[in-house]
C-alpha cells in the first residue's frame, strides 16, 4: 500500500512575532526540534515514505531545516520527499491556498500516484501512528476520515481553529471557526485520511467551485452530502496558535514528558547541528528544564527551555522562559516569562519580566 503524507503548512494561525519571518513548521520547539519534525517523524514511524510539504511562504528557513531529507526517510532511492511551493500564486492572498498549491504541483501527485493520502498540520503537535488510522479508515468504508480532539477550554484555546459538529455514526455535519462562544466542543486537527481518488475529486471540486477554496472549505461545503467520518484522537495534543500558548504549552511538556510526546518506540527525528554537549559550570543552578546541546550554563535556569548554543552567564536568572538558539543572556540579567528568538543578546536591561498571559518577546538578533 502506497501512502502519501502531506504536511500542510497553510491555514496555520502562527505564533505572533515568532512567525513573522518564518513558518511555524520551521519554528524552534523544545530547544532541539522544529514543529515539522513531529509530522515528519509520525510519517516515518508509520512507514510512510512518500512525503510532500505544502508551503505557503517563508520558504528559506523551512528549506534549510528539511534539506537533508534522509533525516526523515529510510530508503532514499525509494519513496519521495518534495517541497511543494505555489510560485504562480505566491504573495496573492486568497489565491495562494493548499488547493492551488496541489494543482500547481500536480506532476508530483501524478508521479507518486499513492493509494492513500494523509494530510496533517505542523500547528497541531501530537504523535500518531497513522498505520492504525489508515487501517481504521479502510474498515470504516468512509470517504474521508477526519481526526479531532475534544476540549472543554474552547473559550481560551483553539481560537481560530475549526470546531466540528458530529452527527449520527460519527458523520461530520458542520465545520465552523471557533470564535470562543462555546466552552466545550470538538476541534478538527487539520488531519485527514482518504484514498487518492477521493483526494483528486476534492481538489477538482474545490478548483471548479472557488479559486479561494482550501481543503477545509471543501469539507465545510460538502460535509452535509458526503460521508466524512470523524475519528477522535485520544492522545496528547496541543494547538500552537499564539505566543502565550507557545510559552505555556512548551513549558507544560516539561511536566508531561513521560506520557505525552516522547516514547522510546516513537523517536522524533530532526536535523543535526553537530553541537557539543552542554556545559554546566561550577555554581550554576538548573531545575525542571530542557537544555539543548552546545549550551553553556553558568547562571540559574528554572522551568525553562533553552535552545542550542545558548549562553546563560554568571548571575543570570532565567525563569519560565523559552530561549532560542545562539542567544546570550548576559551576567546578572534576570528574565521571566520571556520568549527570546535566535541570536539575541541580553546585556543591558537588567530585568525583563513578562507574564504568562503576556510573555515578552525578544526579536531575533536584537540587543537588549
Amino acid at each position: 500500500m502506497k501512502v502519501l503524507g502531506l504536511v500542510n503548512c497553510y491555514n496555520t494561525l502562527g505564533l505572533g512575532p515568532m512567525t513573522e519571518h518564518r513558518n511555524i513548521a520551521s519554528t524552534s520547539f523544545l530547544g532541539r526540534y522544529a514543529f515539522i519534525d513531529f509530522p515528519l517523524s509520525n510519517f516515518y514511524n508509520s512507514g510512510i515514505n512518500h512525503i510532500g510539504i505544502l508551503v505557503k511562504n517563508h520558504v528559506r528557513s523551512l528549506l534549510k531545516h528539511v534539506q537533508n531529507s534522509s533525516s526523515w526517510s529510510s530508503n532514499t532511492k525509494l519513496g519521495s520527499f518534495s517541497f511543494l511551493y505555489d510560485e504562480k500564486n505566491a504573495g496573492k492572498e486568497g489565491y495562494n491556498n493548499d488547493i492551488s498549491n496541489i494543482l500547481e504541483n500536480k506532476w508530483f501527485f501524478d508521479s507518486v500516484e499513492p493509494d492513500y493520502v494523509v494530510i496533517t498540520s505542523p500547528q497541531f503537535n501530537f504523535i500518531c501512528d497513522f498505520r492504525k488510522e489508515i487501517e481504521n479508515h479502510i474498515q470504516s468504508k468512509a470517504g474521508v476520515t477526519l481526526l479531532y480532539t475534544s476540549s472543554n477550554e474552547m473559550k481560551d484555546t483553539y481560537i481560530g481553529s475549526k470546531k466540528i459538529t458530529i452527527g449520527q455514526k460519527g458523520k461530520l455535519t458542520k465545520l465552523e471557526t471557533n470564535k470562543g462562544e462555546f466552552s466545550s466542543g470538538d476541534v478538527y486537527l487539520e488531519t485527514l485520511i482518504m484514498d487518492y481518488k477521493t483526494f483528486c475529486q476534492y481538489v477538482e471540486f474545490a478548483n471548479s467551485t472557488s479559486s479561494f477554496f482550501s481543503f477545509s472549505d471543501v469539507l465545510e461545503y460538502i460535509s452535509p452530502n458526503v460521508l466524512v467520518r470523524c475519528k477522535k484522537f485520544d492522545g496528547y495534543v496541543k494547538c500552537y496558535d499564539s505566543l502565550s500558548h507557545y510559552l505555556k504549552y512548551s513549558l507544560e511538556v516539561l511536566n508531561e514528558q513521560y506520557n505525552s510526546l516522547f516514547k522510546n518506540s516513537w523517536p522524533i527525528y530532526t536535523r543535526t547541528y553537530d553541537t557539543p554537549p552542554a556545559i554546566y559550570s561550577k555554581g550554576c543552578k538548573v531545575a525542571n528544564s530542557y537544555i539543548a546541546n552546545g549550551c553553556h550554563i553558568k547562571g540559574t535556569v528554572v522551568n525553562s527551555i533553552i535552545g542550542r548554543d545558548v549562553i546563560v552567564s554568571e548571575g543570570a536568572v532565567v525563569k519560565n522562559c523559552v530561549i532560542s538558539a545562539y542567544t546570550k543572556i548576559g551576567p546578572g540579567i534576570k528574565i521571566e516569562n520571556v520568549v527570546a528568538d535566535k541570536s539575541a543578546k541580553l546585556s543591558h536591561k537588567k530585568e525583563i519580566i513578562g507574564t504568562k498571559e503576556n510573555p515578552i518577546y525578544i526579536k531575533q538578533g536584537d540587543l537588549i
Binding site: 530547544g31 522524533i268 554537549p277 537544555i291 527551555i305
Partner: protein
C-alpha cells in the same frame, strides 16, 4: 577533482588496557566526551583539513566500528568526489592475510591508495584525542621538500620511553629516531601522524614487505630505514591538546580534561567542530530534584539526582537521590535512586544499583 593528499587511519588495534570497554568493540569506537567516539576526532580533523578521501584499516572487532563509519556522512565525507573506504584485512588470490604491523596494513592497501592518484598520504591513528589541521602540516612538508613529516609533541622525560623519540637539527630535520628508547635522547615524541610523499613510501613499503626480519612497523622499520638512507625526515611541532587514551585511567583523565575551562581542546569552537553521529535523543532534561555542577551533559540524558564534576552521555538516567561525582557515564547507563558513583567509568547501558566508589588514581570501571 584530484586530491593531493588522502588519509589512511589505522584503526585495527584492540586497546586491551581499556579492559572490558574493548571486549566487543575496537578502541577507536570507544565512547568519549559524552557525545563522541574516539575516532570522531581524527575523522573531524580530516574533514576540517579539507581532505575528501579516507581509508580506514580495521581489524579487531570491527563490526561496531564499520557500522558507525558507514558512508562517512556524519563527518561530511560522503559528498561528490569523497570516499570513505573501510579497509579490513581481505582474502586475496594469494590467500587470507591479517595485518601484521602498521606498515603492513598500509602495504596491503596499496591498490586502494594507487587508485586515489594522490601525491601525499597522511597516516593517522584512530585512537587519539586532539584537533589538528593536516593541510597546514602538508604545507610544512612541501616547504621542506620532505620525504616524510612526523607530527611531534613535547612529553615529560619520565614518559619519553613510551614513545618514538626524535632528535632534530635547528631546521626541524630529524637526525635520529629512537623507538621506545630506554634512554631517550630528547623529549620530542612522535604522535604517530605521518605525511609521506607517496611514491617513495610505496617503494619503501614494497621493499620492507620482502624483509623477513621486519616487523612491518613504521616506528621500528620504515622510519629508521629512511633515516639510514639519508631521506629527508622532518618534525612538525604540535603544542595543542593531544592524548592517547590507552588505559581506563587515561580515558577518565581525558574526559575530565573537558571540564577544565583552561583545557586547550575546545569543543565549542564552531569553526572547527568535532562531528559525530546524531543520536535520536530528546533534549536533556534536568528535573527540579536535580543538582548539577561543573559537568558536561549530552542530549537525551535525564537527571533527577546530583551530578558534580562528571561527564554524562546521551540517554543516561540518574534517578532521584543518586549522587554522581568525578565520573564518566557512557551512553544509556543508569544510576538507581540513592546510589553513589564516584571516580568511576560506567559502561554503556549498565545499570548501577549499588555504590561504586573508585579512587582518583585508581578509577573504577563498572561493567
Amino acid at each position: 577533482m584530484k586530491q593531493e593528499m588522502v588519509a589512511l587511519i589505522l584503526a585495527g588495534g584492540r586497546g586491551s588496557r581499556l579492559k572490558s570497554l574493548t571486549t566487543n568493540i575496537a578502541k577507536p569506537a570507544v565512547f568519549f566526551g559524552a557525545k563522541y567516539r574516539i575516532i570522531d576526532f581524527v575523522l573531524s580533523n580530516i574533514s576540517n583539513s579539507h581532505i575528501n578521501k579516507v581509508g580506514i584499516a580495521t581489524q579487531y572487532e570491527s563490526t561496531v566500528l564499520n557500522n558507525y563509519l558507514g558512508s562517512g556522512s556524519n563527518w561530511g565525507l560522503n559528498g561528490q568526489g569523497c570516499q570513505t573506504s573501510l579497509l579490513p584485512p581481505r582474502e586475496t588470490s594469494g590467500g587470507a592475510n591479517w595485518y601484521l604491523g602498521t606498515a603492513d596494513a598500509v602495504k596491503q592497501n596499496i591498490d586502494w591508495i594507487d587508485k586515489t592518484h594522490c601525491d601525499y598520504l597522511v597516516i593517522l591513528s584512530g585512537d587519539h584525542i586532539y584537533k589538528m589541521e593536516y593541510d597546514k602540516m602538508l604545507a610544512f612538508h612541501k616547504k621542506n621538500k620532505a620525504d616524510v613529516t612526523i607530527a611531534c609533541i613535547e612529553v615529560p622525560l619520565s614518559e619519553a620511553s613510551r614513545f618514538g623519540i626524535v632528535v632534530t637539527d635547528s631546521n626541524n630535520r630529524i637526525t635520529q629516531f629512537q623507538e621506545k628508547p630506554e634512554h631517550p635522547k630528547s623529549t620530542l615524541a612522535s604522535m604517530g601522524i605521518y605525511i609521506f610523499s607517496y611514491p617513495l613510501l610505496r617503494k619503501m613499503l614494497l621493499e620492507d614487505a620482502k624483509k623477513e626480519d621486519s616487523d612491518h612497523d613504521f616506528g621500528k622499520d620504515i622510519l629508521p630505514t629512511m633515516l639510514n638512507n639519508n631521506k629527508r625526515l622532518f618534525s612538525y611541532s604540535f603544542d595543542g591538546y593531544w592524548k592517547d587514551v590507552g588505559t581506563v585511567q587515561s580515558l577518565w583523565e581525558s574526559n575530565m580534561d573537558l571540564l577544565d575551562p583552561n583545557c586547550s581542546l575546545n569543543l565549542f569552537d564552531s569553526s572547527f567542530k568535532i562531528y559525530s553521529a546524531d543520536t535520536k535523543s530528546t533534549p536533556q532534561f534536568i528535573s527540579s530534584t536535580a543538582k548539577i555542577d561543573d559537568s558536561i551533559v549530552n542530549q537525551g540524558a535525564i537527571i533527577f539526582g546530583e551530578v558534580t564534576h562528571s561527564v554524562i552521555s546521551n540517554e543516561v538516567e540518574i534517578e532521584k537521590g543518586a549522587i554522581v561525582k568525578n565520573s564518566v557515564l557512557l551512553p544509556g547507563s543508569k544510576v538507581k535512586a540513592g546510589v553513589k558513583v564516584e571516580y568511576a567509568i560506567v559502561g554503556d547501558k549498565k545499570v548501577v544499583d549499588k555504590d561504586v566508589i573508585g579512587k582518583k588514581n585508581d578509577i573504577y570501571l563498572f561493567d
